[in-house]
Amino acid sequence: MKTNDVILRTVTKAVVFIILTFGVELFFAGHNSPGGGFIGGLVLSSALVLLFLVHDIETVQQGIPVDFKKVAAVGVIFAVGTGVGAVLFGAAFLTQTFGVFHLPVFGDTELATVVLFEVGVALTVVGTVVTIILSISEDV
């Protein structure tokens, strides 16, 4: 059965980018306002899920040729790696630090190592959610 989903397809084209942007925004907002790695990752993956729902899996995978299992694995490496990184600097496992740096365009900017940790969280969430959804939907 071929469904008539022209409206959904058209809307998706615009909405996906809005959701993706929102996800990135949430990710960076997490330091000082609601957001963060987990929620950012979830929003990103919900955008991907929407794509998978609207187009078929093959089309999306042609556009985004990424193995999401590897994305999840890279995420875990990031999360654990920042912990190990702290040990290399002589601090306790998973110690996070931050500092204010002067960057050319942004001016005085606060940079925190916790961002790296959150990147790991976000990547793992994206990778795992998409992996689960793909493996279930491919299993026909």
């Binding site: 949430l26 997490g30 330091h31 000082n32 306002s33 609601p34 957001g35 963060g36 790695g37 987990f38 929620i39 979830l42 929003v43 993956s45 919900s46 899920v49 729902l53 299992k69 999840a72 694995a73 995420g75 875990v76 999360a79 654990v80 912990g83 496992f93 998973l94 996070q96 931050f98 606060e110 925190a112 916790v114 940790f117 959150e118 790991g120 969280v121 793992t124 969430v125 990778g127 795992t128 959610v129 992996t131 689960i132 959804i133 493996s135 279930i136 939907s137 491919e138 299993d139 026909v140």
Partner: protein, 804 residues
């Protein structure tokens, strides 16, 4: 200089690198790269010999989990040095041998990774001072042994042998772990050295004997002592280099190491003496008796290894008497047994390693190890024959080979038991030398079988798979080195005695201050007068020779009555019973109905949580501090209640999923009302994604059907459902009424200064409790991989079962 910590870690690091080297440099046999590791370690350890012989010990602690008393403490003394040298020395030779033994078509990458893993684990066992760390390495040796036995995993026998060895040694390891924890409960430390110092005050503690027995269980299973020896013959399914390395020279000696190490802690106890020397003697006898009836050369060597391990074990048992008797000039005599044990341990590694390699060569070149098909190989394989001769005669206890020296010392120690009056056994003491002597006769017989039935007699080329020829030079290097050692140690035993055994004796008997008294001078000739051991050896040779000659007449005795009783049958039977009964139990409650599982879950929840609430009297409602309930909250609750009730009655799945979504979004609204934007946001997105997931799953399911169930079960389900709901409500209310702990929010009050983040929720997630978050991420990943593998790798219909 090589630090001990590096010695443990280098094999592991190499194990990580090997797969890459294997992949990127396929032209050179990977074994040559691996060979570098044990050789370097061996040289590094040899450089410790002079200073250790001078009485020095090396200790280094790295804090790991100090709060639990678990630290990575490496400790090098005489005892661990002997084992370290054996592990790296025999390891080098075995790897050299395996380069020629294994063909390039085998998955060499796996093989050497397992082997390096084993080497590192084994070094970890002997160099760790902390019992918990020791335990981890201990089990790692079992696991790598499992992997190596199952190296040819397409053979059913290999898998069977691997499983058997793993089950038995890990069970023993668990018992040992309990023993360690008991020791910790008594002395409050996991450090072996601190235990040695402190244990004196606890010998009457009720846990003391229990800990002793449990630690011994670990040692006995690992060292294949009766009745746990049954795994070792089946482990011979492993490639021969593995058998030579793990199952004769090193891993099976881990149990011996444990006994030697813990003699200082438990040795004063009578139970220790009876268990170690009794079981050791029984194993010695049983192993040698069973070795004779084997027709497979490797099985014969397996039983002979069991028997020799029993010999060493029994000597350690005798040696512990010295600790029981206290320090005196009499008790120093008993330490000779320990000395003999250590000496024989080294000798055994040399001659047994050589013999295993010889059998491997025969198997490799001729295609069989069945003594009934072999014979007359002497002229075809002269070098192999010489090595076999040296190894076997040393095992039989003949001069001029090192086995003679330690066998004499063994007899001497056993004879000491005749006038043994420390533990009030007097007449029983006479049994010791008699059993030892009989076992030695059997040892002589099977040693002769190896030499004469393989290399003498009639050559039967038509019964062999391949034409017999001498092995390649490379394959002969390793066993030749061992054979040279066998002879060399006979002529210069005191080099070993002074440099290796002396510091080891000092490590086992720290209370005996005079080390020189502990190390006797080893000599081959004690004179004729009063030389009972020599007479015993002569007796062994004469009677053993007669028995060997008449072997065909009495071999049939093995098939009568008690000899057919088999521990293997018992093992197989209990394994089968365990499988069938656990299947029966599982099938009983795993009905396949989701409803039943929910009944179990909620039933247990009601029983455990509700029960403890009733028992502890946790019902106390205090609503005085609660905020007033507003009208919009009431409306939300009503919406949720209606949605929840409707789920049960709607006819289609999609409606049910959407109603479930209503519940989720309402919860998100609650978060908004209670000003938790983070939670609200998360809840909304999670709800969206899970609804999509549900829709995906349910898309493939058939139409929802009404379940027809009996009225009584409906009522029961209703009761369980309602009481579970009531219980959750009660808990929620009781939580408010019971403030048992202070609020922990003070920890997070300085969040901004400490972390630079204004969102306190995320500072908790990313900074304060980052460890939790990290583990959650890992768990999430594992769950994802789990879902993926479950779905992708499930057996297709009609696919062959890979188990057979």
């Amino acid at each position: 200089m090589l630090t001990i910590l590096m010695a443990i870690l280098i094999p592991f690091i190499a194990a990580i690198l090997i797969p890459f080297i294997y992949k990127f440099i396929p032209r050179i046999n990977i074994g040559w790269f691996v060979l570098v590791v044990p050789i370097l370690l061996f040289i590094g350890l040899v450089r410790y010999v002079p200073s250790v012989a001078a009485g020095e010990t090396y200790i280094k602690t790295i804090s790991w989990i100090p709060s639990a008393g678990i630290n990575f403490t490496t400790y090098l003394d005489g005892l661990s040095l002997i084992f370290g040298l054996l592990i790296t020395g025999v390891g080098s030779l075995v790897i050299l041998y395996s380069i020629y033994y294994l063909s390039d078509r085998e998955s060499l990458g796996h093989f050497y990774v397992y082997l390096l893993l084993f080497m590192g684990a084994m070094l970890g066992v002997v160099f760790s001072d902390n019992m918990m760390v020791l335990y981890v390495f201990w089990e790692l040796t079992s696991i790598s042994s499992f992997l190596l036995i199952a190296f040819w995993y397409h053979r059913k026998q290999s898998r069977y042998g691997a499983q058997k060895s793993l089950l038995i040694t890990v069970t023993g390891g668990l018992a040992m772990l309990i023993g360690f924890v008991m020791l910790y409960a008594m002395t409050g430390t996991f450090s072996i050295r601190e235990n040695i110092a402190a244990i004196g005050d606890f010998t009457n503690h009720p846990l003391f004997v229990a800990a002793l027995v449990l630690v011994l269980l670990g040692a006995f299973t690992k060292s294949a002592q009766f009745p746990f020896h049954i795994w070792l013959p089946d482990a011979m399914e492993a490639p021969t280099p593995v058998s030579a390395y793990l199952h004769s020279a090193t891993m099976v000696k881990a149990g011996i190491y444990l006994v030697a190490r813990f003699t200082t802690i438990f040795g004063g106890e009578e139970v220790w003496f009876y268990a170690v020397s009794g079981i050791g003697l029984l194993t010695l006898f049983w192993g040698s008796l069973n070795a004779i009836r084997q027709t497979d050369l490797k099985a014969l060597l397996a039983y002979s290894t069991i028997s020799q391990l029993g010999l060493v074990m029994s000597l350690f048992g005798l040696g512990s008497v010295a600790l029981n008797a206290g320090v005196s000039s009499d008790s120093i005599l008993y330490t000779q047994a320990t000395f003999a044990a250590l000496f024989h341990l080294i000798n055994h590694s040399t001659f047994k390693g050589a013999l295993f390699m010889v059998v491997g060569i025969v198997d490799h070149n001729v295609g069989t190890r069945d003594v009934r098909r072999l014979g007359g190989l002497m002229s075809l394989m002269p070098v192999t024959f010489s090595i076999a001769l040296i190894g076997s005669f040393s095992m039989a206890g003949l001069p001029p080979f090192n086995g003679f020296l330690s066998k004499e010392m063994f007899f001497e120690a056993m004879l000491m038991m005749r006038d043994f009056d420390v533990l009030s056994i007097r007449s029983l003491g006479t049994i010791f030398p008699i059993v030892a002597w009989i076992a030695s006769i059997f040892t002589f017989v099977y040693s002769m079988i190896i030499v004469f039935q393989t290399f003498f007699g009639e050559h039967q080329p038509d019964r062999l798979d391949r034409k017999a020829h001498e092995a390649s030079k490379g394959m002969l290097i390793a066993p030749s080195v061992l054979a040279v050692l066998v002879v060399g140690i006979f002529f210069f035993p005191n080099i070993i005695g002074n440099y290796l055994l002396r510091p080891a004796m000092a490590a086992i008997y720290p209370t005996f201050l005079d080390v020189d008294q502990l190390t006797p001078h080893i000599s081959a000739w004690h004179g004729l007068k009063n030389n009972m051991p020599l007479l015993m050896t002569i007796g062994v040779v004469i009677i053993g020779f007669l028995l060997y000659i008449s072997l065909h007449r009495w071999r049939s005795l093995y098939s009568v009555g008690p000899m057919l009783w088999n521990l293997d049958t018992l093992y197989n039977w209990s394994l089968k019973q365990m499988e069938s009964s656990s299947t029966a139990i599982t099938n009983y409650y795993m009905s396949g109905h989701l409803r039943d599982y929910l009944t179990y879950i909620f039933g247990f929840f009601l029983f455990a949580v509700g029960g403890s609430l009733v028992l502890l009297g946790g019902f106390s409602f205090d609503v005085s501090n609660d905020a007033p309930i507003l009208i919009n909250e009431v409306i939300l609750v009503l919406v949720m209640a209606i949605a929840a009730v409707c789920i049960v009655f709607v006819p289609s799945r999609v409606t049910a999923i959407l109603l479930n979504g209503v519940l989720g979004y309402s919860i998100a609204l609650f978060f908004v009302i209670f000003r938790a934007p983070d939670l609200a946001l998360t809840q909304i997105v999670v709800e969206t994604v899970t609804t999509a997931l549900f829709l995906l799953c349910f898309y493939f399911l058939p139409e929802l059907k009404r379940e027809k169930s009996v009225r009584s079960s409906k009522i029961l389900n209703g009761i369980i459902a309602i009481s579970a709901g009531v219980l959750v409500t009660v808990i929620a209310l009781s939580v408010q009424g019971n403030k048992l702990f202070d609020s922990i929010s003070i920890y997070f009050e300085n969040a901004y200064e400490l972390t630079g983040g204004k969102n306190i929720v995320n500072t908790i997630l990313g900074d304060f409790r980052a460890f939790d978050t990290m583990l959650e991420v890992v768990v999430l990943f594992i769950a994802g991989i789990g879902v993926y593998t479950l779905i992708k790798l499930k057996a297709r219909k009609g696919e062959r079962d890979v188990e057979d």
